[in-house]
């Protein structure tokens, strides 16, 4: 039965994979099948988060708290799938930092959030003013502390009223930004149009090659950022002990879920756009090599089941974390160097990482 199913699926998928994509179809697919749906999914989950935190404030209970935490996880993971798309609206108005100020090396966000809660700062719970306050207190990092940090249990009772209102203001802000991302990616003559239909008069993308360079660069840089800011900072290295509290979302236990979302988002962009299939015959194996490494990353992720504090003390899970560092390095080289070269994009020793 299973073999039969596989055979049918191969027959269905095979020709689609084999067909040669063009820059135009790659760019169209990237925007229409990956980026726009990703932004829309984030908006939907962000609205769900806003609703759930609102319900928690109206009816505080352990159930509504659990529902709000659940919605947080869904919205965070939905953002995790698109946060590497650091072009267009995500880069305007500091949205990328306002949504998630991380790494926050000096703990600015935590200090400010604790001060808001301690002083019951009324300006932080006003949906109209929160967006203009510090970028470190209005996104996922702050909301994670509200929902999971010291004192979060208060949220289940009236004692957490102010804390909940602050959480609702953050959730509302996240939903508003999500709406701006969707609007930006659907705006006429906006970044989507420029990316799909590059033209000489545009400052950002004048040719299909420049647009493809952007796509490939997003994945190459995205993998690097996931490795360097979401995995390496908390695992043991060079004789230094592991620092699990440097991990993103260690309080909520969503550290590896975010890494998984990052990887999945980038995999989708490569696979659904078909960019790695738009190469000459001699480079046709690249598409498979990239898919193989993405699968290796996903297999390693599946092995890391414990919260990071325990995972870094568990030999098998530590091994999987170290392997993730290697495999993301390999993915970065495959996409940033080999695929770029195969596509004839402007890459080389001098422009790989800027300096």
């Amino acid at each position: 039965m299973r073999n039969w199913l596989v055979a049918v699926m191969m027959a269905l998928v095979g020709p689609a994979l084999a067909q040669t994509a063009t820059p135009g179809t790659v760019l169209d697919a990237a925007v229409e099948q990956v980026i726009r749906p990703g932004m829309a999914a984030f908006e939907t989950s962000a609205e769900g988060l806003e609703t759930a935190v609102g319900a928690l404030c109206t009816t505080p209970s352990t159930q509504t708290l659990a529902a709000a935490q659940d919605s947080f996880a869904q919205a965070a993971v939905a953002y995790g799938q698109i946060e590497f798309i650091r072009i267009g609206p995500l880069m305007d108005d500091n949205r990328v930092d306002r949504l998630l100020f991380f790494p926050d090396r000096k703990g600015i966000g935590l200090r400010q959030v604790q001060a808001i809660l301690a002083e019951q700062d009324a300006s932080a719970i006003d949906p109209a003013t929160i967006a203009s306050k510090s970028i470190a207190i209005q996104g996922f990092g702050s909301l994670e502390f509200v929902l999971y940090g010291t004192g979060f249990e208060d949220l289940a009772t009236d004692a957490g009223a102010f804390r909940c209102q602050y959480g609702a203001a953050i959730a509302g802000n996240i939903a508003a930004i999500a709406g701006e991302l969707v609007a930006g990616w659907n705006a006429p003559d906006g970044v989507a149009e420029h990316l799909m239909r590059p033209a000489a008069e545009y400052a950002d993308y004048r040719t299909p090659v420049e647009a493809l360079e952007e796509l490939v660069g997003l994945v190459s840089h995205g993998i690097e950022a996931t490795r360097d800011t979401r995995i390496k900072p908390f695992i043991a290295s060079d004789g230094a002990a592991a620092k699990p509290k440097q991990a993103l979302f260690w309080r909520s236990g969503l550290t590896m879920a975010m890494v998984g979302a990052n990887i999945e988002g980038m995999r989708k962009l490569i696979e659904m756009s078909g960019v790695a299939r738009e190469v000459e015959e001699k480079d046709k194996a690249l598409d498979n090599s990239i898919a193989f490494e993405f699968s290796n990353a996903e297999r390693a992720l599946a092995l890391i089941t414990l919260p990071v504090e325990q995972a870094v003390a568990d030999p098998k899970q530590t091994q999987a974390l170290n392997y993730l560092v290697l495999v993301t390095g390999s993915l970065q080289a495959l996409v940033g160097e080999q695929l770029s070269l195969a596509l004839g994009l402007s890459v080389g020793f001098s422009s790989l990482d800027g300096d």
């Binding site: 020793f349 990482d353 800027g354």
Partner: protein, 362 residues
């Protein structure tokens, strides 16, 4: 100018792995010498000295990727700095009499890939990051005492990149790129919302701030990175933009010690071709022309310094390294090419190694 015969000795002193007969002949003929960090075809890292015609004269191995090189005739030494966030610098004897020595940053600092010698060669200075404080510093090393680090000056900003010594011999100019990074997070840029790039003039004798120049506040994401000084003592700089790709701000300008800073107007097509990225800046031998490169845009632009207008635009795939030669500029690429532009009389040459972003004329 380095003595040609001195280079020949390098072959016997362990400086170069080997000098083939034709390379020895190249050395005999050489007038100019260029230096650059490279990546070899096998993936290793090194630095090379090239003759006037691009003949390989000598090479040294590096433990990791190098960036810019500075050389002092007075000290009889060259130094290759690790690319950021590297922590090594290799001091070598271009004459090959002594084996290279590797310096390591002190705890809590890393290099940014650039530095200069004092005019007498007695001190070496390097741009470094005090990454816990997110502040730039100039590390000071005593050439007469095995390059012991004897102190540091502030750069009055974050993420310093290239530094040069002004013609007066007592003032440094430093480009504070404004971008905060930390070794814990690789090359991730941690402060895009609060970047504050500047050009600073710092007194070499006491580290005091002579002057600090900033572009308009609206350009706070325009990272000022590389510089060269023209015949009038103006400091030409090239920038890399970290804001939205479609903004396309001007990327090239100059600053003066009397407090002027401005961006010049490159034509829109040329500007867009630079792709928000200038990788290096050089001034011609007579100081009248400035060249800038963009490996992202595969573009080289020569600019008339007085008229502040481009006089030549040329493409070079992944081109970044730039140095003056007698009549024009030499440009090198991350794909191993070396060409002449803007009046340089030389034929293109391709090497088996890839050039890093900077080419030094010794």
């Amino acid at each position: 100018m380095w003595q040609r015969r001195a280079f020949l000795k390098a072959a016997g002193a362990g400086f170069a792995a080997s000098l083939l007969p034709r390379q020895a002949m190249a050395l005999e003929r050489s007038e100019l010498v260029f230096a650059s960090s490279v990546q070899t075809s096998s993936g290793g890292f090194g630095a090379v000295l090239l003759g006037e015609r691009g003949d390989l004269i000598a090479s040294i191995d590096l433990p990791d990727r190098g960036h810019d090189i500075t050389i002092s005739r007075e000290a009889g030494r060259g130094v290759v700095f690790a690319r950021q966030p590297g922590t090594f610098a290799v001091v070598f004897d271009p004459a090959g009499r002594e084996a290279p020595v590797t310096l390591t940053c002190i705890e809590g600092r890393h290099f940014f890939g650039h530095g200069v010698f004092s005019p007498d060669g007695g001190l070496l200075y390097a741009t470094e990051s005090d990454f816990e404080a997110a502040q730039g510093v100039i590390g000071i090393y005593d050439a007469s005492d095995s390059y012991r680090r004897i102190g540091e000056f502030p750069t009055y900003g974050t993420g310093p990149h290239e530094m040069l010594l002004m013609p007066d011999g007592v003032t440094f100019v430093v480009a504070n790129g404004g971008i905060e990074t930390h070794p814990d997070y690789g090359r991730a840029e941690l402060n895009l919302d609060t970047m504050d790039p500047s050009v600073v003039f710092v007194d070499r004798r006491d580290g005091k701030l002579v002057g600090q120049l900033r572009l308009d506040a609206g350009l706070h994401q325009l990272s000022i990175r590389h510089m060269a000084i023209d015949m009038r003592g103006r400091v030409w700089f090239g920038c890399q933009y970290r804001g939205a790709a479609g903004d396309s701000p001007q990327l090239v300008g100059y600053a003066t010690m009397d407090g002027d800073i401005r961006l010049i107007e490159l034509p829109r097509d040329t500007l867009l071709d630079l792709r928000n990225y200038v990788g290096s800046v050089a001034v011609s031998r007579d100081g009248a022309r400035v060249a800038v490169s963009s490996p992202e845009g595969n573009l080289l632009v020569a600019i008339h310094a007085e008229g502040t207008r481009p006089v030549l635009v040329e493409t070079l795939r992944n081109g970044c390294g730039l140095a003056a030669d007698d009549t024009g500029f030499v440009a090198t690429s991350g794909l191993g090419e070396m060409i002449g532009i803007d009046g340089a009389d030389r034929s293109p040459k391709t090497f088996e190694f890839q050039f890093d972003n900077h080419m030094l004329r010794v």
